[in-house]
Symmetry: C2
């Protein structure tokens, strides 16, 4: 039996203000639980149905056996995955100098949780360890983002800050170049790309804000090969192609 | 007022068997309606709320003004978009020889509608006009696929067939090479890629089936730069990076 207080707490964690208030977030499924625990993220509560073997946990969290029916009631998923855990958000200390000699991502107002999760997962694949986000970018602890990131959230740190101010600071205090995708940007395939820098991706509908664009050193674009002309690229797909190009050229 | 028969028909089109029976599918939103009409897809019914200006239509479909409340009741979307239209599936005549001298995609059991829509949209961007799918790949007229494809469905034809038999036929009757992504494939960045061929992408969980893999000429992979080791790439992202590489090398 899950007590009323726990139910209420878990339910509240679908909302950013309560996640921030408690410093907690929800992750579902045994694989995700395993990945987050492996990465040292602290579990505060683990609820699981009887027949699910739990991974060897590095956590002091008490594991509670619940019925599938109980889990279904509190799960944020359409198809609950036998395990639901409440984790403590890791505290992140961030200084822009840490990005020197690294390839990083910056997100200017990404709204869709699925896109955000895909971008975190893709960043992990390409060994990008920091994503700097504007404050209006969707919260990385949103349950849909957590699920879509598939554990990559444990290995990629996501920072929320005043993005134009951050880009200005980077442009005046470091050798890092800032690359942003624009419709009229330079053909990325033809560019000589550095092994470090910051790749800025804009909002799904409106792209990079003028306030941020001011500090973009180089405007880039993925060229289209379509004969149509009404086509567009999903922001997660565009980000992946750009990251792939940066990583590919460092291998040459 | 939308009549009961129309309501019932529209509601039934959420299911593949009724889409196939009637040869109809649903698309929502004025932009998608516009794109599909522009591409010559035939609308059979257009329902729109009063204040939405309709695009100049090439369709003989009767446009019916409905209330936002009525539209909300029949919409498949969480946030209805003022316009819902029923389209006739275009008939597609397909011969594998049509793929000669072209870059095409083959999908072996893609399940997620969002991934499918993203792949269709990405294919359109890269000028890929044909996607050949195994019969168990998610239906391209699934309402979630239609919405996620953002009109690209009008410019990319999607064929459902016996995929291993198709790959066998291609391998024995044409000069086209078949490329498939595998965990242990060759580093795609290091390969000399041709301007035509078939790129096979596998199921989200289990990859390309052995029956299909038999006919894959070349096993490829997007290398990971992660220090973690538990990372994975979303199939839509992987497909996009592979297509980007094929198109990039033809520009060299």
């Amino acid at each position: 039996m899950i007590g009323q207080a726990k139910k209420k707490l878990i339910s509240s964690l679908s909302q950013k203000k309560y996640r921030d208030k408690h410093g907690l977030f929800v992750a579902e499924g045994p694989k995700l639980l395993h990945d987050l625990l492996e990465a040292g993220i602290q579990a505060e509560m683990i609820l699981t149905t009887e027949n699910v073997p739990l991974p060897e946990t590095r956590s002091s969290a008490v594991t509670e056996i619940v019925t599938a029916q109980e889990l279904k009631k509190i799960s944020f998923l359409k198809t609950p995955q036998n395990t639901l855990a409440v984790f403590r958000m890791p505290s992140v200390k961030f200084h822009p100098e840490q990005l020197n000699n690294q390839l990083s991502l910056a997100l200017d107002g990404i709204q869709d949780p699925g896109n955000m999760g895909t971008i975190i997962r893709m960043a992990d694949w390409f060994g990008i360890s920091t994503i700097v986000c504007s404050k209006d970018t969707v919260d990385c602890y949103n349950p849909k983002v957590v699920q879509a990131s598939m554990g990559a959230l444990a290995r990629v740190r996501v920072i929320y800050t005043d993005l134009p101010a951050f880009c200005q600071q980077v442009s005046s205090n470091s050798d890092l170049k800032t690359f942003g995708t624009f419709m009229d940007g330079e053909n990325i395939y033809a560019l000589d790309l550095p092994s470090s820098g910051i790749i800025v991706m804009g909002n799904e509908g409106s792209g990079i804000r003028p306030e941020t664009a001011k500090y973009v050193t180089r405007k880039i674009a993925v060229p289209s090969f379509s004969k149509g002309g009404m086509e567009s690229l999903n922001v997660g797909i565009a980000a992946a192609i750009v990251c792939s190009e940066f990583r590919r050229t460092t291998l040459l």
